[in-house]
Symmetry: C2
């Protein structure tokens, strides 16, 4: 298979970090460097540090300039001030560098015309030298398989989700948020002002990247509108593609201009663009993460909005029913047969076997849970619902350090079997805002078995609503699962 | 001042707990009892346990029946099965008991006509004997000043918020949620099916209770509609009154019928009812808690929807601006003067002094924060905004065990001074879903100084939206602050 032009970014043979500082707390300081050193990039491939005022930083030799580094340097991470950036491009050209990530900010996004002109010149010179540029004004690359990261805290493990983000902060939120759910990345790119490497090309890269199954993007500008639309269409045709668009309000658009010099558009326009190309539009980071969970589990197959809810507490049931209704999810009455079968395991007092089912007061009948799961699963299979929303008891009581307990494994196996047999997805829903989230390890176990864990009944319902909308849009297109 | 008829509930001279179990994990088990014993109710006033099969539970003597307890018994907590409930009322009548809380469930809410009839008979007999009934099917009373609680985990400290809740679970959520914000209760009542003591009388009680400043209620049924409307009006006239109505969807209404045998109504009807009487309608527990925070701090005086946002990170700024716009909160451009003043403290690269202000990259200029707070406060005073939404740095780095640090105290003092001088409320907004909440102690400190801490920019904006709506509804009514 022919290599994609962006492969140079994701598989450098060596890296030079120019302008690295030894001062902790500074953005370009060791914390950023740790993203490479903590996971041992420098033990496998050359990592050159450039700082004329230091002989070593964190035990790694410093060179006075890029020219002084031994060749070849494939990729440069640059955090020198913007006034030194042009000179760095010239040095890199002489060194046959293939790509530069400009952490450096203070270009067009500053609102200053001179700085905008500087940015144009920077890109022009890099293009002339055949150097690809990530940024400026961004955090750059996270490639776990290559031990490259812009955060020391990102997971070392590789996965199948590709994150595209103009904002570095939101890339951090997405990668960390996925990690907290036990979901890992094939790669992530924060591309800031995006004057060379930008969303359209990144969507194309993700579409052809064999390690990527799901694509999630945070965009501010619409880039070169037509190119973005077409790349998004190509990507969404072959892989579930989730897009969160920032700057859809007047205040947000102003913020986007200050942040990445982006010209933002309205929510309506973007919504209709996503509809046209078969991408999912998330309205917040949380929704984007929920959708990743949705498409990576059996929930992606949800066929309609009728849910059986297994709730926890009467007041919880009532508010949860109201909350899911806000997203079009209904709770049809259960058949007499299903109610009778539930009644055998759920005592009358303090409980309910209607829908929502409230089985808070099982007393010592812990063994009732597997039976109840089977019964609601069968009700789903016989057409009483399209999805089961199950107040999660996973991870409770918590295993050591968040590891799954035997009970978690049994529950996951039971739910997986019911899902397989019945074809109705079952979602493990956390009790919500006031409870601790399910551990990363338990969520990972659930995901590996095709079971979605979502943070509240309302967000589970919203995910169902968005998945149904997306599937309707894709009608007639080839299946991507 | 004449005593309110419900005073008997809130100030019993002695309590008998009938049907208490020694089995941990059972709802009527020791956990429930600990609500009384953990805080030492039994060391100040008589606590009699009734269980014919035990001589003592948790070191407290058990009596075989209520009749065997020494007189007087003012208040009975009852968790015997429903078939024994009538007999208990007869025993209580002979003992001149003044109030009974029926934890016991399985009455009208079960959907069984016989059980509904049993409930009617129960209430009739209690009424005939002059006994007030809380419930059935509820958790009962939390009166911190009297060391009475239905949860061992509730705060021991008394406060000024009165919680009225049909649901026990949602009473737990409200009291715990307030506690997590450093806000305490004058009392809380979970009243379940509410066949005697119910919302209208509780609103009247709260309105006249001198220790109550704010009232927050979770309701399922509309009770006897007119009575509820009038009591709510009387309460909302004199104290900020927040109401969350469950069962406003079809599924929620069905759940409410199963839960507390309530006939629920639509969201629109309840919204218009709240508008008529000057109460605030919350749509979720979170919103109810946010509104309590709002009315207990300077935020209650917010005059309009124009905000200055002090954000944290460019991508965060963009999404936060979009999120607040969903609730009508706008971010007007700052004057050239204010921008110039900010620029002296906020370096250009990676930041913005427009609105939202992004001052993420202050590097070692920690001392810039107080100045920035002063500048945005002055901008508010000179008419550039109605409110300041300030990404909170309170509690970070965290003090020992969540205690406020010197830095927290300085920040709180600074914000309080700016609020006082400028008249523009400043909200400390947590970074959101992915960050740890501010500790109870730090939130308490902030509240004591009139400063609201809210969990996200979106929820801060939603609180502003609801407070503005409420103040518009109250136009012409006497001020209650």
């Amino acid at each position: 298979m022919a290599k994609h032009p962006l492969d140079v970014l994701f598989h450098p043979r060596s890296i030079a970090f120019v302008g690295v500082s030894r001062t902790p707390g500074r953005a370009q300081g060791p914390n950023f460097l740790y993203g490479l050193t903590k996971r041992g990039f420098h033990e496998r491939k050359p990592l050159y540090l450039v700082n004329p005022n230091a002989s070593e930083i964190e035990g790694i030799r410093c060179y006075p300039s890029l020219a002084d580094c031994p060749a070849p340097v494939d990729h440069v991470i640059c955090s020198v001030p913007s006034r030194l950036a042009l000179d760095l491009v010239d040095q890199a050209a002489r060194k046959h560098v293939r790509s530069i990530h400009f952490f450096t900010a203070g270009f067009e996004e500053s609102g200053d015309a001179d700085q905008a002109a500087l940015e144009r010149e920077l890109i022009a010179r890099a293009r002339a030298a055949g150097i690809r540029v990530v940024g400026p004004n961004c955090l750059g690359l996270y490639v776990p398989a290559e031990r490259i990261s812009f955060s020391p805290d990102f997971p070392e493990q590789s996965g199948d989700v590709f994150v595209i983000s103009q904002s570095g902060g939101n890339a951090l939120e997405l990668v960390s948020g996925l990690g907290a759910r036990g979901v890992f990345c094939s790669g992530a790119v924060s591309f800031g002002n995006g004057r060379d490497v930008a969303a359209p090309e990144l969507f194309d890269y993700a579409a052809q990247d064999p390690s990527t199954r799901v694509v999630v993007a945070y965009l501010e500008g619409a880039g070169t509108g037509r190119a973005l639309l077409e790349a998004l269409r190509r990507c969404a045709l072959v892989k579930p593609t989730i897009v969160l668009k920032g700057g859809v309000s007047e205040g947000g658009a102003a913020a986007a201009a200050s942040h990445t010099a982006s010209l933002a558009g309205s929510a309506q326009i973007f919504e209709s663009l996503c509809r046209q190309v078969g991408a999912m539009r998330a309205e917040s980071l949380e929704e984007a993460l929920d959708l990743v969970t949705g498409v990576r589990t059996a929930l992606r197959g949800v066929r309609g909005p009728r849910a059986i809810m297994l709730a926890s507490g009467g007041g919880f049931s009532v508010l949860a029913a109201d909350a899911v209704a806000r997203h079009g999810v209904t709770l049809p009455a259960l058949s007499a047969r299903t109610q009778a079968r539930l009644r055998a395991y759920v005592p009358a007092a303090g409980n309910s076997v209607r829908n929502p089912i409230d089985a808070s007061f099982l007393d010592d009948r812990e063994g009732a849970w597997p039976e109840i799961i089977d019964i609601v699963g069968q009700a789903g299979r016989s057409g009483e619902s399209d999805v089961v929303l199950l107040t999660s008891t996973l991870g409770s009581p918590a295993g050591k350090d968040g590891e799954p307990t035997d009970r978690d494994r049994e529950m996951v196996a039971r739910i997986e079997r019911v899902q397989r047999r019945g074809g109705v997805p079952m979602v493990c829903v956390e009790r919500g805002w006031n409870s601790a989230p399910t551990s990363r390890q338990v969520q990972r176990l659930a995901q590996e078995h095709g079971i979605a864990v979502l943070p509240s009944m309302e967000r589970a319902a919203r995910t169902v609503e968005l998945l149904l909308r997306w599937r309707a849009q894709r009608e007639g297109l080839p299946s991507i699962f």
